[in-house]
Amino acid sequence: MRVVIDADLCQGQGRCFSIAPSVFGFDELGNGVVLASGELSEGELELARLAVANCPEHAVGVVE
């Protein structure tokens, strides 16, 4: 499982990095970036899923 942000869809709404600060960060424009590399812990995965459900732009995904 890993997380992705579609940079074409992300508008920097900032929900992902507020909800899951260990998984997502932001760049100098305030757009979301994925910080976590490799396998996510259970807890991180749960937060990442919450980020998916809160991104108004549908830009965050959890993929196999």
């Binding site: 709404q13 760049d27 100098e28 424009l29 305030g30 919450l50 809160n54 108004p56 732009e57």
Partner: protein, 402 residues
């Protein structure tokens, strides 16, 4: 001058967002519209459409092919091609369309990114505390006029690096700007004169004495290797004032209004301060203060209706946030709503550039108010008044704190 308007009989065919019924309580109107006709129409304002659903608002917000942002405040009269500002618009990026929009937006985003905004928390907090100190000893405080209203302009004044001694002058000037957005163009220009004078003097002072603030940031910003003209810097400052002040004031005011009326939510936040970030998103969803406008670019069938070139679209992010198709229990305020894809800050390329700042101000303003007054209630519900127009929030809000 206010023109007497005929009251609205049917919002589906003759809506008016300034009608007293809409101003008092728009939510049942929107729910009724969602059930009867997903897109309402009016001949007022020269012809306008209002999609009441989350799907309709989303589709239009993301569609810059068929809609333009060249004016985002719906005013009387049908706009015509000659009177319309260019696609760059008067207040880039909010009134710009692609491709210029992206350039103007990228210019200001770094100044409002979390990296730039998060460090402001201590100064926002001490500002809120000092405003509350001024209210000390009273049993009833004016939570909108004397608290919420004063926070956003004071924060922006600090960010711009304008003198602290000018705080009151600045707040007055800003008030003229934000109150003037509904005026016809010529009156607006007249209202702007004193502001322009004050701002240009500040800009010149910053040119002579650069320092670490937003004004210097804008003066150093470049498009294609060229520094911005003073008019562009001034225009951007005006946009930040217009976009960042009444909006945030309204969000803080509505949230305090809610807590004054819902003691169980207030108790919960006092008991569980960590819930605040989640609660903030629900405040933003439930009481989203900002409705925008677009213009139709050309005649077309869209969302099942026949739109004409230069018809207005009233883009109701607050209505989208109450659509049961997008939010379970949409008309219930759920303070710990975990899944909340609300659109209070808009969607797509014009997403609120100031959202990180707005969230910071809203959170700290509520945290400090609650810390000072862990129990409070409306002093007199009949004295609460709401703004009229595209920004919705309480303007008078007497709250009993003692």
């Amino acid at each position: 001058m206010t023109i007497e308007k005929t009251p609205v009989a049917d919002f589906a065919t003759d809506f008016d967002h300034t009608d007293p019924a809409w101003v008092a309580d728009p939510y049942p109107i929107w729910e009724d519209l969602r059930q009867r006709c997903p897109v309402a129409h009016t001949e007022r304002y020269g012809g306008a459409w209002f999609p009441a659903t989350h799907a309709g608002v989303t589709q239009i917000a993301k569609d810059t092919e068929n809609f333009t942002s060249r004016t985002v405040i719906m005013n009387d009269g049908r706009p015509d091609e000659l009177a319309l500002p260019s696609p760059i618009g008067v207040a880039p990026p909010i009134t710009s369309d692609p491709p210029f929009h992206q350039i103007a937006r990228k210019l200001i985003l770094p100044a409002f990114s979390p990296g730039a905004i998060n460090p402001l928390e201590p100064q926002v907090r001490s500002l809120c505390r000092s405003l509350l100190d001024r209210l000390e000893g009273r049993d009833v405080v004016e939570a909108s006029w004397e608290y919420a209203r004063l926070i956003p302009p004071s924060v922006i004044r600090q960010m711009l690096g304008f003198p602290e001694a000018d705080t009151d002058v600045f707040i007055d000037i800003v008030h003229t700007v934000t109150e003037s957005v509904d005026l016809p163009m010529d009156e607006r220009i007249a209202a702007f004169e004193p502001i322009e004078e004050y701002f240009v003097a500040q800009i010149e002072d910053h040119q002579a004495n650069p320092r670490d603030d937003l004004t210097t940031f804008l003066l150093n910003a470049e498009i294609d290797g060229q520094k911005l003209a003073v008019e562009h810097v001034f225009g951007t400052m005006i946009l930040i004032l217009v976009a960042g002040i009444d909006t945030t004031w309204s969000a803080i005011g509505s949230s305090l209004w809610h807590l004054a009326k819902n003691p169980s939510d207030l108790e919960r936040l006092v008991r569980e301060p960590d819930l605040m970030p989640v609660a903030i998103e629900e405040f933003l969803r439930f009481y989203a203060p900002v409705t925008m406008a677009r213009l139709v670019k050309h005649d077309m069938e869209y969302l099942g209706v026949a739109m004409k070139e230069y018809d207005w679209i009233l883009l109701g992010f607050p209505a989208a946030n109450r659509d049961p198709a997008a939010f379970p229990d949409a008309d219930r305020f759920v303070i710990d709503r975990a899944e909340n894809r609300h659109v209070a800050f808009g969607l797509g390329i014009h997403r609120c550039a100031g959202s990180n700042l707005a969230r910071l101000e809203l959170r700290v303003a509520l945290e400090e108010f609650i810390a000072r007054y862990p129990r409070f209630a409306l002093a007199d519900p009949d004295q609460v008044t709401w703004s009229q127009g595209q920004i919705r929030g309480p303007r008078r809000l007497p709250i009993r704190v003692g």
